[in-house]
């Protein structure tokens, strides 16, 4: 694990640029930090190259803008990440839906 932020990630430009306030990263809700952390941690571990994720993110943002969606930056990030994992064969969309329902119904309450 890198001990310092990667410039490649911190310096993303244009629509993909990380939301900031006073130069610091902004996570409006806890889950936004989690999805950010998950994506960065997996790229550090070489599950995928950052530019692969970045191009998915840019595509997702472009798509959302064209469709006039009101989704937030990290919602789009989540969709892009799911798409990337599916492309790499690392995630089964059906399993994710099922797991989400388990958390929703309270059948499952923690990650472990």
């Amino acid at each position: 694990m890198d001990a310092v932020p990667s410039r490649e990630i911190a310096d993303m430009k244009g629509a993909a640029a990380l939301p900031r306030k006073n130069g610091e990263l902004v996570f409006d809700e806890a889950w936004q930090g989690r999805i950010f952390g998950m994506t960065v941690a997996m790229s550090h571990d070489a599950c995928f190259a950052w530019r692969d994720f970045q191009s998915h993110l840019i595509d997702e943002i472009g798509h959302a803008e064209r469709e006039g969606e009101s989704s937030t930056y990290y919602e789009r990030w989540l969709h892009a990440f799911e798409q990337l994992l599916a492309d790499k064969g690392l995630l089964d969309a059906v399993a994710l839906d099922e797991r989400t329902r388990e958390f929703e119904s309270g059948r499952r309450d923690d990650v472990f």
Binding site: A30, M38, V40, M42, H44, L91, L96, R99, T100, R108
Partner: protein, 206 residues
């Protein structure tokens, strides 16, 4: 910022669909050993701490509460920031006083003390700021919301690859009771570039 290890939050609003989905995703990826919750915690902590002006704010707050440190900081910025564990940059600290306001620019490119105040804002790198900060600093400052009396002298510091500048802003009135950590929270990136003044807590919270 840990969303995973909280229990018994009955008093809260129902968790959002997105939050549930992210929890489900983390749960699946952890199960597959593709990532660990601790690694996620570390990434979030690292990026939250190391991107942004936290380090510079700590330096400023220390200088406000410790006159001896302030003197060392103004005499030899590079050595003084090393005392707090920050380095990798030759630094000169310039102090704002009631009669003098300092403004930092890099007219050639975008030299900036990253280690202390994070990544430079887009405007800092713009041709407009780089040229106008030198030519008409008073007007530029007014556009940033800093209206200085005519009697205040404005000093411009042009950063280079060899030497970076950091503004030591004036400590706002009414903060005598605040501790170092609380003071650091008031210090903004813009104040350390010189395009803002540090506001007292009531105004900063707005």
């Amino acid at each position: 910022m840990s969303g995973t290890h909280e229990h018994g939050h009955h008093h809260r609003e129902p968790e959002s669909v997105l939050s549930l989905r992210v929890r489900a995703l983390e749960s699946l990826l952890v199960e597959k050993k593709l990532v660990s919750s601790e690694a996620i915690d570390r990434v979030v902590a690292t990026y939250e701490q190391d991107i942004g002006p936290h380090n510079g704010a700590k330096v400023v707050a220390r200088a406000w509460v410790d006159p001896a440190y302030r003197a060392r900081l103004l005499a030899d910025g590079t050595a003084a920031i090393e005392e707090l564990g920050f380095g990798g940059v030759d630094l000169q600290v310039v102090e704002n006083t009631p009669g003098v306001h300092n403004l930092v620019v890099c007219t050639l490119c975008s030299c900036y003390p990253h280690a202390l105040i994070g990544l430079p804002p887009v405007w800092y790198k713009s041709f407009e700021y780089r040229s106008r900060a030198v030519r008409e600093p008073r007007v530029v400052l007014r556009e940033f919301g800093v209206d200085l009396p005519e009697s205040t002298e404005i000093r411009i510091w042009d950063s280079s690859a060899e030497l970076r500048y950091l503004v030591l802003p004036e400590r706002p009135a009414g903060t005598e009771r605040l501790g170092e950590a609380e003071l650091a929270k008031l210090v903004t990136r813009d104040a350390m570039i010189g395009v803002a003044v540090v506001k007292p807590p009531a105004a900063a919270a707005r």
